[in-house]
Symmetry: C2
Subunit: 191 residues, 2 copies
Amino acid sequence: MNSEERLIESTRELLWERGYIGTSPTAIQHRAKAGQGSMYHHFTGKSDLALAAIRRTADEMRAKAEEQFAAPGTAMERVTAYLRRERDVLKGCPIGRLTQDPDVMADPALRAPVDETLAWVRARLAEVLAEGRERGELDAGLDPQETAATIAAILQGGYVLARAADSVEPFDQAVTGVLGLLTACVPAPRT
Amino acid sequence: MNSEERLIESTRELLWERGYIGTSPTAIQHRAKAGQGSMYHHFTGKSDLALAAIRRTADEMRAKAEEQFAAPGTAMERVTAYLRRERDVLKGCPIGRLTQDPDVMADPALRAPVDETLAWVRARLAEVLAEGRERGELDAGLDPQETAATIAAILQGGYVLARAADSVEPFDQAVTGVLGLLTACVPAPRT
DNA sequence: GTCTATAGTTGGATAGAC
DNA sequence: GTCTATCCAACTATAGAC
């Protein structure tokens, strides 16, 4: 891995662990085993490097989610697979955590990938749910957009509760809880 | 309001807006219109001041939540009142946001009030739900603890989605969505 | 209690040599 | 491309005067 690549990857890690304000160019350089000259040769500065890092993380997040969304199976099966997927729960969401970073939210360029990615997740979940409703897999009264927001919020909120408790338990409970509520919206099969 | 009081209040605001890493003693002093000498006379340093601020915010958060939890009405009514209560959605949760602050989570003293407050919210919600289930207001198959985690996660996650979108819409949708799912667990009244 | 002075460290970046 | 030298501001805190 070349120096530019290492700088981006180190920035991705540090943004996840410490956020934008908490990540210094010096810390990035140390982790990437790159000098100052190298960093400022490849990138104009901290924000430029952060942009590259955030974009890559956002792309990766969408790709991983699409694996479950585009899989075969009923809507409930796909939503369950998405919620139950292996996750670094105690580390939280590398995109969601950036919403707490005022310097990220204040910069339209840095903010855009965060906004777009979470909006995409909601929209994609809504599509999956709408599809399930059309196929009669889900109750006709279920609102796809609202329920999609609920599911996306469960994940982001589950991370927060898990980090506070320093335990994955509340995350797992929140997921199990919403899946239980959703199951009640699955029409009984015609006998 | 005296100087000590102003320092605590300013710290509360800044922790909410910029987090622990992003809040400097200088910034606190400016907002509180207090000098350095004043601040270091009343508090041993940044973390000591942050502790006072976090404790107060945690107490306030519990008191506000208890208003809805202890109100008269069915479990669904109290949960609905809690979720629909007026909130500074785009500012997020002043306690939940601290879970993203590695320096807060690394210090047991600062971490404790965050952990305890969110655990309390879940436990209290579980009590309300269990009560509703016993009274026959909610489906017997509903797990109070899991559902409590779901509801608490909706709030924390709703804030994240709202901040990303710079709009309260996803927060409101997530809340409406989960209330819709919960309503499906309300047994039809005996006719 | 509050003020000013001081101080060592880190942050974020630039300049120019190689 | 990478290195070292240099820069100024901000961060966090201490010391001592008033």
